[in-house]
């Protein structure tokens, strides 16, 4: 039963991804012009001259003179065999451009997620169990602040404060001397020492959101009859909280995994731009801006794959964790 379901879902992914790839490609091509044209325009805006010969060479080399569907087939076909195309901006294969940044992005996102959970869980549980207490009000207030303040704004404020009052500049993910060095223990330490600011900045709104959702879901459960009965029967309060209500309230958390996977690799674009983090977010943004289509396209495709896989994982996990959820109606147990 389960096996067939998984196979069906995986097969369904194929047309989904093909459709996404067509859409991604079309959208990237929608703005007028192409990479070379925006490149020329940018140079001229800076008052620089362009060598028409070189542009002609690039246009041919990159195949930008070919019709659109041919460009698409070349790109999509390449991806099947692991060739993600060529980044015009960096003049090298996409996979090499993304390389090191991917690792750093995963580190930052992973630490951020841990941070979010570590803060959000205890607070969420506390607010739900101590509803309408001063603690609940205070924490909820902070939570709303966290949701309301845009991340990039927080980043800017922190940068300003750090500069004016402490005379340091924040931004970056490691001390400058490590940037072009190979990985070493010292470098890892430096990354850890620098990563708390982006983690806090990126994590705040996520934390706040999670607190609110956990509180709401838990409150729903806590008012149900079985909890009242359990309490009445003298189940210890901790057990009466953790055994069922908390587990029930976690469904939202599991379905979040679907969106978590892509956010691990794309990670908070705007904040990363403001903090000038060497992560993939700013790179994606720039690639879209300069119409570096294979870099942008492959990246978006990668995100799409992550989402599709994430959704599948969270669906399967839900089925496994919550016996109330059935694969489909009409199928008897």
């Amino acid at each position: 039963m389960m096996g067939r379901y998984i196979v069906k879902r995986v097969l369904l992914m194929i047309p989904t991804l093909i459709a996404i790839s067509v859409i991604v490609f079309t959208i990237i091509q929608l703005p007028p012009g192409n990479y070379l044209e925006s490149y020329i325009a940018e140079l001229q805006a800076q008052g620089e001259s362009v060598d028409p010969q070189r542009i002609a060479f690039l246009r041919e080399y990159y195949g930008l003179d070919k019709p659109l569907h041919e460009q698409y087939l070349r790109w999509a076909g390449g991806m099947l065999v692991g060739d993600f195309g060529y980044s015009f901006e960096f003049n090298m294969p996409v996979s090499r451009v993304v390389g090191d940044r991917m690792l750093l992005t995963i580190i930052v996102s992973f630490v951020t997620i841990i941070f979010t959970w570590a803060i959000a869980f205890p607070i969420g549980i506390y607010s739900a169990t101590h509803q309408y207490s001063w603690g609940d009000y205070g924490l909820s207030f902070l939570g709303f602040l966290g949701i309301a303040v845009p991340n990039f704004m927080l980043a800017l404020v922190m940068m300003y404060v750090a500069n004016v009052f402490f005379g340091t500049s924040i931004g970056g993910l490691m001390a400058p001397e490590y940037i072009d060095k190979p990985w070493s223990w010292d470098k890892v330490q430096s990354v850890l020492a620098h990563s708390w600011i982006p983690v806090v900045v990126i994590g705040t709104s996520g934390t706040a959101g999670m607190i609110r959702r956990l509180r709401a879901n838990l409150l729903d459960e806590l008012q149900k009859q079985y909890v009242v009965t359990a309490r009445a029967k003298g189940l210890p309060p901790r057990k009466a909280l953790y055994k069922y209500p908390l587990r029930m309230a976690l469904n939202f958390f599991i379905s979040d995994i679907g969106s978590l996977l892509p956010s691990i690799i794309s990670g908070a674009e705007i904040t990363a731009v403001v903090l000038s983090l060497p992560t993939t977010g700013p790179m994606l943004l720039n690639a879209l801006k300069s119409q570096d289509m294979y870099l942008a396209g492959s990246f978006l495709m990668f995100l799409a794959v992550m989402i599709v896989i994430g959704v599948l994982i969270s669906d399967l996990a839900l089925v496994a964790l919550d016996p109330r959820i059935r694969l489909s109606g009409g199928v008897a147990r």
């Binding site: 703005p31 007028p32 012009g33 044209e37 925006s38 325009a41 940018e42 001229q44 805006a45 800076q46 008052g47 620089e48 001259s49 060598d51 028409p52 010969q53 002609a56 060479f57 041919e60 080399y61 901006e89 960096f90 003049n91 090298m92 294969p93 090499r96 451009v97 090191d100 940044r101 940068m159 500069n163 500049s169 931004g171 970056g172 400058p176 940037i179 072009d180 731009v273 403001v274 000038s276 060497p278 700013p282 790179m283 720039n286």
Partner: protein, 634 residues
Amino acid sequence: MIRSIARLAFVALVALAPAIGRGEEPPSLADDVRDGKLPPLAQRLPREPATQKPLRADWTPGRYGGELRTLLAKDRDIRMFVVYGYSRLVGYDESLQLQPDVLLRVDNVGNRVFTLYLRPGHRWSDGQPFTTADFRYWWDDVAHNKDLSPFGLPQALLVRDKGPKFEVLDETSVRFSWDEPNPQFLAALAGPSPLYLYRPAHYLKQFHARYVGVEKANKIATAAGSRNWAGLHQKKDDQFRFDNPDLPTLEPWINTTAPPSTRFVLVRNPYFHRVDPAGRQLPYIDRVVVNITDDKLIPAKTGAGDVDLQARYLRFDNYTFLKQGEKRNDYKVQLWEKALGSQMALYPNLNVEDPEWRRLMRDVRFRRALSLGINRHEINEVVYFGLGVESSNTVLKRSPLFRPQFRTAWSGFNVRQANVLLDSLGLTRRDKTGVRLLPDGRPMEVIVDTSGESTEETDVLELVRDSWRQLGIAMFARPSQREVFRKRVFSGKSMMSVWAGLNNGIPTPEMSPAELAPTAQEQLQWPMWGQYYEQNRKGGEPPALPEAQELIGLYESWRMATSDAERVQAWVRMLEIHADQVFTIGIVTRALQPVVVRNNLRNVPKDGIYSWDPGAYFGIYRPDTFWFDAGARG
């Protein structure tokens, strides 16, 4: 007595000589020389190095050492250090005269035959000799290779589609000769993105099919992630992109970081060919560190004192903010003059689709009226703090070709005269709100396309709109996005656009006046006429106005000119036509560029010109002679 004084002086000089430092090793290289990793200075310099004369009254010989920090916005901006380094076969000096730099000298016979003499003993940054073999490699194996240069020789080498004759005379001299004059040749060599006539042959041969065989070359290329050997050669070979740390260079600093990276480190070139007046090898500064940051953050980071020298990505509207941080962060903000003919100019599109508007745009009375209807003084005071100069779009005062009447022609604010001109066009009918009507009854609504990049544009247009209102012309700004903007102008969809004025506002007669004649599509006032010239009459439209045709003729006569007097004549006539015909409507000139300089960084001029070509931004001010006064730090 006199003799003994002379002898004493001589003895003193000899004794002092080491202290003055002729032949002194830069301290950062001394260890390598002692360990035998580097040959001593005398063997690294060309036999006759390029001696940097003191540049300005306040120019001082410097001390070695230090690290210059600056910011750029993208990985590929690292090319700016080829621009700033400005190591060229010939280059402009501060007074914009061409001087040999990498070359020992150039013999020029009537702009037709150029003989280039290299410096004997000159070496690439990896220590290999730089000789005419590198020119030969470029000519035979790059410029004439079908795979590497499928589109033939670079434009600057062609005169009426014909390339030069190339001869290697000996190890240090080459000759290029044309049948007809090629006045753009030396200027192209001196450009910020120069015409490279040479390649580090010893390095590039390993990628070239002719030297390793097509099959092997292609195999190397695929392993390196390129499609074919030509792609890899192109990628490894880009001296201007500066993104290959292995590619030997002649610039003062060598890039050691391959993109992608957020931090680029450049180190001194131990074989650099320039020395200071005391014979000490340049550059003074050992290392340059470039951090890559989003361009919108660069003003903020600069204001926070994160840089030692910064101009790129700073705008005039950052000036007050940058000033604020001066004391706290130990830098000063200088204002350099941009070389633009106009900070902002309106371009009536003479190729606009709409026939009614096209007729008007092509009528000089209409263009003059529009120009007279702009209150430049008000704009200058309101938007530019009165720091600009009210002017039409023409050359700047610094240029020897400047004449006051170019600046003032049709650029005073005179509503009455403008209205008389418009009336004489027969545009006398008006609608209820006082807006004039076109002959076909439509109201006169001028729509100005902007690239939507700065609020400065919208501020200025707002003021123009107010004053045009008094002429009975309604004006609307239509912000879009850069590429859309260009497409609309090129295709004639846009009737008027706004953009910066002449790129080169400080020309000398030797520089090309191509900008003034319809020669390129990106000339927003006549894109199709420009395209016609650019594509050799195959695209676009032939210029329909006699004045535009005359400009083309004058440009051709400048190209063929053999004397300075003829060139001046062509230039001045072209500027005259522009002033009189108001093909573009300049507003305010003397645009200013903030330049942030660390307080103890010496030899950066207080007021320079900030210009791409000529100028290479910092290039003509020789950043290799900038130095840190360590004692003055803090």
